[in-house]
Structures are given as C-alpha cells and as structure tokens.
Subunit: 140 residues, 2 copies
Amino acid sequence: MRDPLLHYPGYVLRRASTAAMAELATRIVVLGLRTTEATILQIVAENPGISQSALGRMLDIQRANMTPIAARLEARGLMRRLPSDGRSLGLELTPEGQQLAEKAQAVVDAFETELTNRIPPEHRDHLMPALLALWPSTDG
Amino acid sequence: MRDPLLHYPGYVLRRASTAAMAELATRIVVLGLRTTEATILQIVAENPGISQSALGRMLDIQRANMTPIAARLEARGLMRRLPSDGRSLGLELTPEGQQLAEKAQAVVDAFETELTNRIPPEHRDHLMPALLALWPSTDG
DNA sequence: TGTCGACTGTTATGGGCCATAACATAATTT
DNA sequence: AAATTATGTTATGGCCCATAACAGTCGACA
C-alpha cells in the first residue's frame, strides 16, 4: 500500500490545515462560536468601526458571505452594525461581544501556542515565511 | 486597521491551504475532476485492488463519504468496484481511468513543483517536517 | 451639476468537503 | 454458536466558498 501523497507539499498542507481547523473548531464550539465567527469577533474587537467590506477583504470573505455571518452575530447581541456611510456598515462589539471575544481570544492563543510547540525547534521559524510565500493573496 | 492574524501559524496555514487548493481546483477542473477525485484516481492507480475502506483511511475520508465518490467515478467509467471479500469492494481503474489519472498526475506534479519553487530556498526543506508535525493523524 | 462608474450590502442559489447516525450484511473473535 | 468488529450504504446536516443579480450610495469628472 503506497502513499506517495506524503511527498506533496500541497497535499500535506491541506491535511495539516484540515486537522488543525477541526481541532480548533472543537475547542471554540463550546463557546457557541464557529472558527470564522471567533476570527471576526477578534478583528472587530481590535478594529472597532471597521466596515463589513473591509473586514471581508482582510479575511478573504466575500461580501455576500459576510452578510449572514454579521447578521447572525448582531442577532445574538454580540455585535452592532451602525450605518457609517449611507452604504457602509461600521461594526463594533457589544459588551457581551467583547466578553466572548476575550474568551475566544484565549482559546485561540492557547491553540496557536500549542501548534507552534508541536513543530520541532529547528523547523519552527521557517513555517511562517514558507506559508506566506505560498499564499499569493497577501498583496493581491 | 490591524491584522494580528498574520502572526498565527494556524490561521496562515488555513489561508495558505485554501488558496493552494483553490488554485489546484481550477487546474484540475478542466479535466472534469475535483481535487478529491484526482487524488483517488492517483491512489487507486498505484494500489490496484485497494478497498474503499482502506482508501478512505489513507485519505481520511469517511466510508459514508467515499461511497458516492467511488460510485460517481464508476458511473463515469473511470473505475471498477469488484467485490473482493463479500463485504469489501476492491477498486481498480479502467483504461479510461488510467488515462485520465495520468493527465491528473501531470497537473498535480506541475502544481506541486510550482508550489515548492515559491518557497524561498532557505525555508524550503523545513516546510514538510513542520507540517507533518502539526498533523496528528499520521500515526493515529 | 448631473452623469457614470465604482463601492456596499443584500438575497438567492449552488458546489465541495466533512461529520454523524442508523442500517444490513459479512467477517472475525471468543 | 454468539458476540463483536468491519464494510458499504442511505440520509441528513453543517460549514465555508463562489457567482449572479439587484438596489442604493458615493466619487470622479466632464
């Protein structure tokens, strides 16, 4: 039984990503959040007033897909969407949103630290530059 | 506008994986295949007679999700599913499946090579060990 | 100032992959 | 022989991504 896929960086990248995301999802779901929602709370917490579009550009989420996510977070009382522009919606967290964002942040931080610690030290500092080189969307 | 996510290996891993998979998908779809199907053709080509379950274990695809994929490939005349065991189905490619598998293989190889070449040389050899360390499912 | 193009948000819709539960059947273990 | 395990199947849902079409707003520019 041969498995040549383990020599393919793209394939290993995919598998590593899927595994890591699944693990994070199980840790974050206990807060009642999806990983995407946790990320959004985090970004809005650090960038109050950011528009849906700008948020979407930062996270590579289409406007059309951002709408239901933001609406859901607002409906749960975690986020407010205030018209800033007539066409734009500025996002900011409610106190409950802030509180949940902090919990989510702690979970994510712990996870990312664990992830980093799994990498053998001699390879650790090379992962980020290598991944960023694979990722064309950084500059567009 | 702050974007602290770029310091998170898990997040960058996810983004890099998504981008890479999307790119591969656009290259493989012209063959009438999805990335998962291309992978399956490749594995079956190198492991004729492999059972659906064993294939699923290798690729981390649940039995329940493997069934429609394998059935689709069989319906397209690319693969045969021969009862080997009374309960198991042994998989093997048809001539058309072989031919398509070779084309898919060429596309994947080219893609993986390009991917590797994007990584700065000083980081190149560190990516695979780092990713494999993140990926717990290698041994279970 | 009025028009045209670009931007924003929304709705609708579909694709692709993953996960779980329940089931029937066959093999294996005890 | 009985109990457990393995395999394949069906059904169902979740999550994330993509595209098209639309209405409303802003900005650039003649």
